[in-house]
Amino acid sequence: MKEQKLFKKIVSQNNEFERTPVPGNQLKSGKSFLGMYAGEHTAGTEFVIGPMFVAHGVSAGDMVIGLLIGNLLAVLSWGFLTAPIATSKRLTLYYQLERITGKSVVNLYNFINALMFCFLAGSMIAVSATAVGIPFNLAMPELTDWYPKTTGWIVAVLIMGTVITFIAIRGYNQVAKFANVIAPWMILIFVSAAFSALPQLGVHTLDEFIVAAKEVIWTGVPAAGFTKFTIWHIIFFCWFCNMAMHIGMSDLTILRYAKSWKYGFLSFAGMYIGHFVAWIASGILYAVFLQTNTNSNEFAPGPIAFQAAGIAGAVCVIVAGWTTANPTIYRAGLALQGIFPKVKTWKITAIVGGITSLAACFPALVMRLLDFVALYGLVLMPMGAVIFADFYFADKFGFQQEQAITNKKDFTWPALASWLITLLFCLFLNYYYGMEIFFLGLPGWFVAVILFVVFSRLKFPNLKTKLA
């Protein structure tokens, strides 16, 4: 499991090569990336996303074709957008951004990133709490819940949050090791749970599965209060749910260790195991839960997995949520420490854990996870577009590459202006034209690239071009 060493290196406090390119003798083989992507993308969120597609009334055909196309687009984004820049520059996202726009904008980026990490970790704590609550017969949240309804729920979440925060304070390595241990077992649990669930729908053959998939699981009818999802929703969600990582260039930090730019395509392991197999499996589990609990509006991954896979299913939900929440809290802490370098790590982690635990009390984080994940990618995407434009278009359109470091400045405005105006443009599309959040990333990316090129051409024209 070389991926563990790679990942440890990436999130380590004593991160090597923070401000220098990764040297040739530190590069990693393709196997490291294959294992890391498979493990990273089969996580606690998968227990929510698959069922949410069912709640949004996706049809069976749209589900399968949408997943195939959307995941392919995500893999191509990693392969053609992120990896070539990562292996050419071999710098972290943060340092690359700092070279373009200066330290102050990177601090703002870190702060927003940390907030997003807190909410993501919060949703995972809530997912774990749904399984912890099973033996205590805890009243579970419902699909339409936004606020906590019972004291028992708040207590369960806060206990879970406290434990996870304490472990995060104690350090990252043990959790990373445990995450490695559970990864192969967890992937099998998804598949096993689906096999266990299908007979409860009267399915024992492939033909019966095809019929049940269309008529019982992905019926095309959304749950009350949920919008109808089409194939376009599935394609764009699959493509953009990790937008911060590929188009947003967050994975520059990981792929800078790749021997070849082609390793970006190894993300297929995460996409087609986690975002295909696991989403289909968890969708099946939720459909069975709905069949056996008629008229139930409850939405709790713990009991859903317990019904299909017994104790192993419930334990899988707890550890999947935990091992996703823990590194996320840790990463949020690191992002904030970049802004407040003098504050001790444990204090920052404790504050982050506290915010995360409080956020986790609100079931809205789980029930609206799809919207949140899309928002997370969208908010960070413009900075990825800036890095892309800086790398490919500086010479072509006559502006200076890495303008902050070239001009020895702590702040340059073209990247910040492109970021903010792009988000305003997306807000405008959403508010005035009703374009759903899942689709905003595509027009937003083009706007961010164009704005950055125009602003950079105005403010930092290439001296050679100017003289000519």
Partner: protein, 63 residues
């Protein structure tokens, strides 16, 4: 020792995936499937940590 642990871990994975398939094929009951999966889980957690991360720690870096 490491080989024995590995064999036990792989057997745990078999206990995780095969019983649900047998239940799918109506060979065993759901309760039996859950029981075997729980045993598989316990066996996996009891054996896998001793060789998965061991391998990582011992492995030289790629160059």
């Amino acid at each position: 020792m490491k080989t024995l642990l590995k064999i036990a871990s792989y057997f745990a994975l078999v206990l995780t995936i095969v019983p649900p398939i047998l239940y799918f094929k109506s060979t065993i009951t759901l309760d039996q499937s859950h029981m075997y999966m729980t045993i598989g889980m316990l066996l996996w957690f009891a054996t896998a940590p001793f060789w998965i991360n061991k391998k990582t720690d011992d492995q030289p870096q790629d160059s």
